[in-house]
């Protein structure tokens, strides 16, 4: 048992778990036809059947409750402020399954030239709002209120020591819904993580309907016809938001160190994390030279990498595998789409470099631009 726990602790280190999740992700939520044929060959779509759903939930819920036998795990998940996160996780799993199941059913129907499940023949009479919908709303409200009152009696709302401006709690966490952003703050400058990223998220979400103007796929669950967009959205929502909330809530302990789910939160855990910039990595370690004085020359490798990432890859894709897509999208939409996707992809890359080689900044121009 202890060895198993130890193995899980090691595997849950972000460099392992994130990489595994990110690779598995594209097979479970295929963005292209190629991935989808793999998905079919591996029978991963079985997850979105009733049986698959039962297994999925049983596994996750079972693992969760088994884990609560472990005192370290229990100590963390039962903190009152972490209860909503558990709720969020099980809810996410359930609704993910529910939507994917309906999407798969509809995909099969559409492939057979049938209408989606949601379709009602116009000749059928409509449902009256009074009484049908109004009662559903009433019952939903009552259930919700009952649950809330029960929850409020069972669990006191958290309240810590009175505010003390000279002593930060250890660890000091943001409200759980911002833990993803707090995690970003570890890897990026505050003005990027705190100002630019939220703006990109908000603007990116708002621009979605103006980028994805493909006809069809509106008003019913579906996957196959919209796989690129659904896959990308899920990537942002599951891996960059929910995953980071889990990490932030359950695996960031004292001094903001990583802790496995069954590891004790040791105040004195020593982790050497001496950061290094890409410039010193290349100039000093690889080329054995002193850092050049000219900032642009010093940072040229990082700038070249950024340029390649944002300015070279998108046109390359447009000329090769995304040729048809590019033709359909036109310049502006394609550019916005690519900027958002490449930005979303760049986050995990930077995080990964920090976890593995302690890279601090790819480009470091102090006071201006640290990335």
């Amino acid at each position: 048992m202890d060895t198993l726990k130890h193995v899980i602790n090691v595997l849950s280190a972000p460099q392992v778990s994130f990489l595994a999740a990110a690779i598995a992700f594209f097979f479970v939520f295929p963005p292209t036809d190629r991935f989808q044929s793999w998905n079919r060959r591996l029978r991963l779509d079985w997850l979105w059947t009733v049986k698959g759903g039962i297994l999925l939930h049983a596994l996750v819920i079972g693992a969760f409750f088994l884990s609560t036998l472990d005192p370290n795990f229990r100590a963390i998940v039962t903190k009152p402020d972490n209860v909503p996160i558990a709720l969020l996780l099980f809810g996410t799993l359930f609704f993910l399954w529910l939507s994917m199941k309906q999407a798969c059913d509809n995909d099969a129907r559409l492939a057979n030239d049938q209408k989606p499940n949601e379709y009602t023949d116009p000749s059928e009479s409509k449902i009256l709002v009074w009484p049908d919908l109004v009662y559903i709303e009433l019952i939903a409200g009552i259930l919700c209120m009952a649950a809330l009152i029960f929850w409020s009696i069972a669990l006191e709302a958290p309240l810590e020591e009175p505010a003390n401006p000279t002593l930060s709690p250890n660890p000091a966490k943001a409200p759980w819904y911002f833990l993803g952003l707090q995690e970003m703050l570890v890897y990026f400058d505050p003005w990027l993580a705190g100002v630019v990223f939220p703006v990109i998220i908000i603007v990116g979400l708002m621009s979605l309907p103006y980028i994805d103007t493909e006809p069809g796929g509106s008003g019913y669950y579906s996957y196959s016809d919209r796989k690129l967009y659904v896959s990308l959205f899920m990537f942002g929502w599951l891996l960059l938001w929910v995953y980071l909330i889990i990490v932030g809530a359950f695996m960031r302990g004292p001094n903001w160190n990583f802790f496995g789910p069954y590891e004790r939160w040791d105040l004195h855990k020593v982790v050497a994390l001496t950061n290094i910039n890409l410039s010193s990595l290349i100039w000093v370690k690889l080329l054995n030279q002193p850092l050049p004085d000219n900032i642009i020359i010093r940072e040229m490798f990082g700038i070249a990498m950024l340029g390649f990432h944002f300015l070279v890859i998108p046109p390359l894709l447009a000329m090769t595998i995304l040729k048809k897509f590019y033709a359909r999208m036109g310049n502006v939409k394609y550019a916005v789409f690519m900027f958002l996707s490449m930005a979303a992809v760049s986050l995990p890359i930077k995080m990964f470099l920090r976890w593995t080689i302690n890279l601090k900044y790819v480009v470091a121009i102090p006071g201006w631009f640290n990335l």
Binding site: D81, L128, E160, L208, G367
Partner: protein, 263 residues
Amino acid sequence: MAEEEKKDFWARFFGSYIWKSIFRVGIPRDRRGRLMQVLSNFFLHLHPVSLPKHAVKLKYTWCMGGLSFFLFIVLTFTGVLLMFYYRPTIEYAYNDVIDLRETTPMGIMREIHRWAAHLMVIAVWFHMFRVFMTGSYKAPREFNWCIGVVLLTFTLLLSFTGYLLPWDQLAIWAITVGSNMAAATPFVGQEGPGVALLSIGNVNLIGRTSDARFLLLGDTSIGAGALLRFYVFHCVFFPLIAVFFMVVHFWRVRKDGGISGPV
């Protein structure tokens, strides 16, 4: 005899001048009456009178948008109740929050408010996820999706400003970090990139007492000013804006053709 009289009483009650002036249509017994019920009631006229079958199914909408709104109402109600006890000053805030548990009957009003706030955030997210998965952001509902994103932002802002009010350790450190990000905003924050450009000679235009963070907190660190400001934002300013956008949101749902569905 008594039976008769009772029936007679209710018949007279529902038929009375006063009752009829309030509820224009009688008890709905047929299809037409039910349609009229929705049409003639202010609170119900948010809805259309009838809907396609799939739109009332739980597995389509998950009821998440409705729950978000319901939770907002619960939050407004409990929030106003909390305001009767809570005073937004450094001396009182923390103790008032304790008193809400210790000295008010039942002592769970704050709990309801706080857990409902968490639930609302979750409900809004799932609502967005549902809308995405059903492709309901596509034409003609593009703009309503944008309004939804604004509503999500304001839900988070409401929750975040509320987080400071108990004035405990969780509160001030979350807000310290959050508000220092404002100080890192390009050009308008004193720590952000570009401030060096905004100077006349040696004097910086944007400094400790003139940057975005200072405007937000009314002080150079989290203190009495910040608590009062967040209180006003939380209890008046943001809820009003949120209500405004919700009204537009609901109106657009109707005008964009009701709940989405396949054609």
